[in-house]
Subunit: 385 residues, 2 copies
């Protein structure tokens, strides 16, 4: 096991009716800016519940944070925060709203060019406004970590940043608020969480037994519960298991003391920036091919994954590995997320474009061994056609 | 799944050499009181490393916190903290030193009778001195939670308290510092962590899939790694897995949203208070009998435990359940912890004494269903003779 430094101070209020508790978690005198997206929270009742909970507070609103939240939109929010002397942010929505709100929180208190926060991956963040979240879409895990991904529309760049200053103070997770999600978002969320686990688990063994068991536990839960979330949309326990799994997939815990990959995400981000594919769609396309191309480097963990997650422990090793990857692919499609570039109308030309973008952004030595060069990325993309 | 509120802000610095990092985590102007036990930290090098790391700080010392830390000793420490105007505590040792330090931290700032903190289970704790820990013995999980157990020698009472004010600011876990632990403490630690998981896992199902998988993951790790810690004392990864498992067994995570038992601990505490058995010894005695006596109430989870933890999924259900309990018992003995009251020289008279003590302390409706009455406790104890 590698040395590690784990810290995660986000308070999680989980369950039906928990939105009412937020009033006690935001200072009574705070000027609150509620940030949200396209308005689905007005249809599912979350908007009204939040407003009711904050009846005693001063609450302003900033709507319109888009999927793959844009730097351009967020800088408008920063201007509102400054002019309205906001001192607490409340993100209400999915991962994009939470990610965007983290950037607003950091950019507001950053002196100098706000883009530098993203250009330098968050290292220069010295302070951030406090904020909480009310999560409506289980997927990214952003509700319990210090990371965010932001897109600059002008240049088609998708960049992430990470800082201990942008952990949410609290996050409210009410599974019943996810009953009415569109199936596409449910499927995307499960695939996203699954891929998050795989980036931290499917590398090479370092004798980190508990981390492996926890990772496998989340994967098994997503495999068992994900399809039920599609077929029984208002089963509370199913939604609760999916929601908590997605949070635990990326709250730092399963990634401590182990090597991490993240090359699938890096390639996927370019696909989203260039072609506006959903984040989860890019992961469903890239991950299976990445596992096939890097089969030798990931061999020991692929066999462990085959045995413990898919129950494949007989027969020859090559066959087990291929079967485990094929089941992964099938699971993604079963969740309604297609796994080939061609499924999204993309062809060879996109391979060149994505490889060029990776090179332009310095993404030339990805993965747990830094061996995913542009040539390897090309191979992965070609296998995904 | 039940609703829950999870919060755990303790920073964990894990791995070889991490003691050096504590200087950066304690305010430079702080007057630090280093608390420890009987001096084993002077033999294993931890004392010297801590002193070296804090060379630039003002550090006073309070030694002599005993196993099952006593109210009487800790109140002496509180007097030192007050007279020396201490503003940061550093617990260096095992769970007893950490528990004791939590009480010192809370009692120092408590106005009124300090015993009330324990009498009221921590509810009245409004503030506590900040403190960190350097853990030398993986077992109790106290390094990453807000709980402590304290014994009042004068009255033979063992009481616990819990408060969000007494989470350690940080805990340093260096597995290499556990190489030289006496085997008895290694075995005790593994049994203690195992029992912590069982109290949160082996109840009745509430469809909390991830919590179950995580609990099973810790149990499997302890079963695989625990015996290796005895046979290969200086295998770093084995020690790391045991240490991290013990922390995760009681940092709150596996217990969120699920029913919890803790009746084994309640009975065990009386055994320790009356006969000075090691905490883990009492758990090894009580837990198997508790599972047998409450077999019907715990039936579904016992079958799940048998299948997922011990691989027992064939044959009749009664047989599987008994086999799983027998293996649990064997595992405790394999870790060097005996599982019968008679092994410790106790007989029928102790049954009466423990039941009377439970009644005197109001422990008359224990367990996840509150159905462990004194009569049930008696049955459990008799089965443990």
């Amino acid at each position: 096991m590698f040395n590690f430094d784990f810290y995660n101070p986000t308070q999680i209020l989980f369950g039906q009716g928990q939105i009412a508790a937020i009033a006690g978690l935001i200072p009574p005198q705070a000027r609150v800016l509620m940030t949200y997206g396209g308005g689905s929270i007005k249809q599912n009742g979350v908007y009204d519940e939040v407003k009711a909970a904050l009846a005693g507070h001063t609450v302003l609103e900033f709507a319109g944070i888009e999927p793959n939240p844009s730097y351009e939109t967020l800088m408008q929010a920063v201007a509102v925060v400054k002019s309205e002397r906001i001192d607490f942010l409340l993100a209400v929505g999915g991962g994009s709203v939470v990610d965007g709100t983290k950037f607003i929180a950091a950019a507001t208190l950053h002196e100098g060019e706000a883009w530098d926060i993203l250009a330098k991956g968050g290292k220069i963040v010295e302070a951030a406004l406090p904020f909480g979240t009310v999560l409506t879409l289980p997927a990214t895990g952003s509700e319990m970590n210090g990371s965010a991904v932001i897109t600059r529309k002008a240049t088609q760049e998708k960049r992430s940043f990470m800082s201990r200053k942008v952990y949410p103070k609290f996050s409210v997770l009410d599974p019943s608020k996810t009953f009415t999600l569109p199936l596409r978002q449910v499927g995307n969320g499960v695939v996203d969480a699954f891929a998050h686990v795989m980036e931290q688990y499917l590398t090479y063994p370092v004798n980190a037994s508990v981390q492996d068991r926890f990772a496998e536990g989340i994967l098994l839960t997503l495999i068992e519960e994900g399809p039920k979330a599609l077929s029984h949309p208002d089963d509370y326990d199913v939604r609760a298991n999916v929601m908590w799994s997605a949070t635990l997939a990326l709250n730092g815990l399963i990634g401590v003391g182990v090597p991490q990959d993240w090359s699938t995400h890096a390639i996927g981000h370019e696909l989203t920036a260039l072609y506006e594919l959903d984040h989860a769609q890019t992961l469903a396309i890239i991950l299976p091919s990445m596992l096939r191309v890097r089969k030798q480097a990931k061999r020991a963990k692929l066999l462990q994954y085959a045995a413990r997650v898919w129950g494949l422990d007989g027969g020859d090793e090559e066959g087990r590995i291929e079967a485990a990857i094929a089941r992964t692919e099938f699971f993604f499609r079963h969740m309604g997320v297609k796994t080939r570039l061609a499924d999204y109308g993309l062809n060879h030309a996109s391979v060149d474009a994505v490889v060029s973008a990776l090179e332009a952004h310095g993404m030339t030595a990805l993965g747990e061994q830094r061996e995913v060069t542009p040539a390897v990325s090309r191979k992965v993309l070609e296998l995904s056609l």
